[in-house]
Symmetry: C2
Subunit: 406 residues, 2 copies
Amino acid sequence: MPAYPGFSFVIERRATAASGWANRARLGRLTTPHGVIETPAFIFCATKAAVKAATPDQVKAAGSQIILANTYHLIIQPGPEAVARLGGLHRMMAWDGPMLTDSGGFQIFSLGHGSVAEEIKGNRGAERPRTLVGIDEQGATFRSYLDGSIHTLTPEGSIQAQRQLGADIILVLDECTPYHVDRDYTARSMALSHRWAARSVAEFTRAESGSAGPQGLYGIVQGGVYDDLRRESAQFALSQPTFGHAVGGCLGGSPDEMYDVVGMAMGPLDDDRPVHLLGIGGVRDVWEGVAKGIDTFDCVSPTRIARHGGALIRPALSEQTRVRDHINLRNARFREDAGPVDSECDCYACANFTRAYLHHLLKAGEILAMQLLTIHNIAFMNRLMAAVRDAIRTDDFAAAQRHWLG
Amino acid sequence: MPAYPGFSFVIERRATAASGWANRARLGRLTTPHGVIETPAFIFCATKAAVKAATPDQVKAAGSQIILANTYHLIIQPGPEAVARLGGLHRMMAWDGPMLTDSGGFQIFSLGHGSVAEEIKGNRGAERPRTLVGIDEQGATFRSYLDGSIHTLTPEGSIQAQRQLGADIILVLDECTPYHVDRDYTARSMALSHRWAARSVAEFTRAESGSAGPQGLYGIVQGGVYDDLRRESAQFALSQPTFGHAVGGCLGGSPDEMYDVVGMAMGPLDDDRPVHLLGIGGVRDVWEGVAKGIDTFDCVSPTRIARHGGALIRPALSEQTRVRDHINLRNARFREDAGPVDSECDCYACANFTRAYLHHLLKAGEILAMQLLTIHNIAFMNRLMAAVRDAIRTDDFAAAQRHWLG
């Protein structure tokens, strides 16, 4: 059993029935060698070892506690050895706070099968080049999108790569089951993921610390949209000596199905380890996930929405009849709007600039618009998570949820 | 004669013959309603009311004293009235330091005739749409590159627009003479510019302050590459009640010709008003210009080079035999370079990141590369200007110039 020096997870409070919503929300302190994360927390994506359009000091100033990088992209470029030579991800990126890397599996399979998002939208990535060459007991073989070179990612190789990258929290390799496969495939895939998880744990136990010190290993609950498989996978996860758990896809074809599937996975997952929900992080997703016991979330959407001109905002402030979680500042109705992006926000963007100016920057094609909206959207998600933590602390979950979802 | 409340220019020291280079370099303090500029100084371009890829706080943290915006672009979008409604450029952009706007003329004529840079490169913009519709005594008529609408910019209209934009320093309208025209055209163009300058001064004297308070008007010395015309134009500029002077193009077809032309213009321009050199700002240009009495420079090149992966650096540090003022971090030789971008620089980018990481970001197409290199290149130019000021202060101009030009 790994010792996880420098790691701890303390659940400080659990929501009660009096919170107004029967739930398993919990307030926690996740300690890592690079600092403490107050949970529930949002993990911001630095896919290729950079939060898109924000410097690390801006990410931190916007209240962020933890970021993640994607092992798949970093295997392809610049390579984990190159990152290790530069002192690991923390030093290379100048981020001295907590950090997570995934196993690399998600991108192999989502780029290989077509992503979950594409499935939901009904376009299974027909025009996308297939990079997944094949899966067998040993691992997953894929083609580099950069130079066509062939790589095989094994559970051992994923852990070794994540050791070199050196993030605080690292993940076992799994097969991220696609949505359009049947129960039979899902069951076989889950069993393979469990064997890969066991090999990941064995490799983790064998190897030294990462390039930046001790690391904490998370297992992954799979099982697709099938209740019995999710429960079986959660039981397997509980049996493994990991520091934490993650819930992985496939999570279904709609938000409501996703919340159901998260509930299936969380059913048996009632120990004191932290639980991360992989790749999900809309505003409603956060409230639903926290209520089911999720401690951390990650999603590219806050920073991606920003690069398309979108500012996250409480629906009550969006002045639209259609409830949405963001406004698009390219819209002509903002041309003369002298108000801040979000009147409730005190981030650098909202404290200094108007919607009209952001509208101008977007129309003019200025990169600064992406930078300012990225700062705001990060600050918004961090403010949302602080509100979630307050709601658990004050045991007033339902009212807070209504306030944020409109 | 306008009073220019809140403005002053104090020449604190002049280089002597002992400086090692017969020159007219001078150390000054240019006071504006939004703060003091230590001169010689570099003015960074915020063309469309945004320094490309840098937030105002990053621009300031990199040591910048003053920025400029381009009236032509802001007339087309969002319009000077819209800027005035947002409180003027300073408030709209969240830049509370000194600011300059040009008259709009340069872009009308450079987009109309093909730019000076294109002429130097021998491609007179054959593929570029011509937006200049015509010039007459009244003003210049051009077509919006956004919607094809027709605008006429008159001297009065330029001053009115710059009043609404509200920068501290504003410019008279001139015709920016192209390079490929003959002496006769240049002489007639200069005479027209002088009549437009007089009308600009009259409008400036008539109107109220700008949207952000008092403003200081600069005249422009024209005359193309012809010594007698430059001298005549400088004499005219001296006769006008402006707060400062600018030297405008055409400046010639090569750097050496440009330095000669600047010398022609500066010959008679020996009063105590500040002098700005329009659109020029390479490292050698700065040393040559300062030696001829130029106090401020502007150029898009530091920020443009950054967006193409280039980091400004002293030639001695570039480790290349060919003397150049920057290194391109896309180059494979930086793939494993664990050193800072510029070992002499203490900017945020150099203090925190390696050349290898910047190389990775550029290869990965990450916007962060542009942001970090923009910060560095701004900091580099500000460090260069501080070195120029030190060289004048210590009267050791030639040695400092050798150090910076390699």
